[in-house]
């Protein structure tokens, strides 16, 4: 299980591959489900220039570890990885990656969806977008 809050750009595909190689579980996993959230250049009809992502250091990591452990209790998964960006982000840059490894695909999909859903609804992160009209805190998570 790995949780990482990244202050700088990360490549989600390279990160998943690198973590997979470091897991030491080759031959055991038959299914890997991955979700990558990427910054779009528009939101609710407005162009977005960049975004500032704030978090609550300590609580965020604790909460992400908690849901990762919950996923391990609920599904027969082998391992999981969550990386979330903070700080200033530009359009087309990755915001979050969630990856889950399991023997079979159903558990991998279900746990991956659980993790991103819980992360989006409760992990203490906040987005502030820079629009043409100025900067604005995002109020609704989609």
């Amino acid at each position: 299980m790995k949780i990482l809050i990244s202050k700088t750009f990360f490549d989600p595909w390279q990160a998943v591959e690198a973590y997979q190689e470091s897991m030491g579980k080759s031959g055991q996993y038959g299914g890997t489900a991955v979700f990558v959230g990427t910054m779009r250049d528009f939101n609710e009809g407005e162009d977005v220039k960049d975004m500032e992502l704030e978090h609550y250091p300590g609580m965020t990591e604790k909460y992400l570890e908690e849901i990762s452990r919950q996923a391990e209790d609920k599904w027969p998964i082998l391992d999981s990885l969550i990386i979330h960006r903070v700080g200033k982000i530009l359009p087309d840059e990755p915001i979050v990656v969630v990856a889950v490894w399991s023997a079979h695909r159903a558990a991998a999909f279900d746990a991956c969806q659980f993790l991103i859903d819980e992360l989006k609804s409760k992990a203490p992160f906040w987005k502030k977008e820079t629009l043409e009209s100025g900067s604005k805190w995002v109020e609704h998570n989609t």
Partner: protein
């Protein structure tokens, strides 16, 4: 000791600061016993916005949760990560 109070995101901007400290005396003399009491003390009577989330020591709690000396209490708006 004391109670450390933290604010995040839009709430931090609205209050114009990211933290406050509430003295241990405020607890021992009975002025403060819950998270909501902390809010009322630090913001000078302004009511808590409807969707405000509260945490004690990095765990979500309800506004009526009890606080004790040494706790870290946090207030923040609905989260928008991912």
């Amino acid at each position: 000791m004391a109670i450390q109070v933290k604010y995040f995101a839009s709430l931090k901007e609205r209050l114009g600061r990211d933290a406050d400290e509430v003295s241990a005396e405020a607890i021992s003399n009975g002025k403060i016993s819950t998270v909501e009491d902390i809010w009322n003390m630090v913001v000078n009577g302004e009511s808590m916005p409807v969707n405000t989330l509260c945490a004690i020591n990095l765990e979500y709690v309800k506004p009526d949760a009890a606080v004790k000396d040494g706790d870290e209490v946090a207030f923040f708006p609905p989260v928008t990560g991912g």
